[in-house]
Symmetry: C2
Subunit: 125 residues, 2 copies
Amino acid sequence: MQLTAHACRAREVLDRVGDKWSLLVVSLLGERTMRFTELKREIDGISQRMLTVTLRGLERDGIVTRTVYPVMPPRVEYSLTPMGATLITAASTLVAWAEAHRTQIDAARADYDARTEEPTPPQPQ
Amino acid sequence: MQLTAHACRAREVLDRVGDKWSLLVVSLLGERTMRFTELKREIDGISQRMLTVTLRGLERDGIVTRTVYPVMPPRVEYSLTPMGATLITAASTLVAWAEAHRTQIDAARADYDARTEEPTPPQPQ
């Protein structure tokens, strides 16, 4: 019972802030305010649609704020809200962990791949 | 340049540990060793295949260890490696953040939805 409640709570929480793209956006906006095109350029591999969806979700959650400047063409900037700024620490703890263990993870992967490699089938004579 | 490097590094890192299912598995195994069926039961909504893929990825990364007991039927247990155990802190920092801000996030969502609600189209007379 306790574990189930724990898992449900964690899942709900991670649906909010535990996806890769959201954490990347928060991490980048933690450095400075950015325009959509800047974010798109900085996040290698994100599609226009995925970035739009991610930003809208973060705005809805009160983590990111979107400011439209009435110039031609319109300029739209994204930045962290005060609540969003407090998320940087949590996100960077995870990033710091992974960076500290990167070599160890690479070694574990090489070891795993060597152990589970398909044996060469015997060649017919 | 610096930002691009930052984003790439973060993305690589988050591909490893920043997905919802991996964080949930780590969080549960942080409490105790579990069997596949126990994990499946605790993680509401995960498919058999997704749990298999998630566990295999974590095992390959050296975060989870898989022990097969030679009994009939075979018993397979999953637990965290010493490296995996150090990830609990980072994962729980993120969870703690989201729990601390849950009420604020719910309020932000309600506010956002009220602001962006579709206006009722005028009814034809």
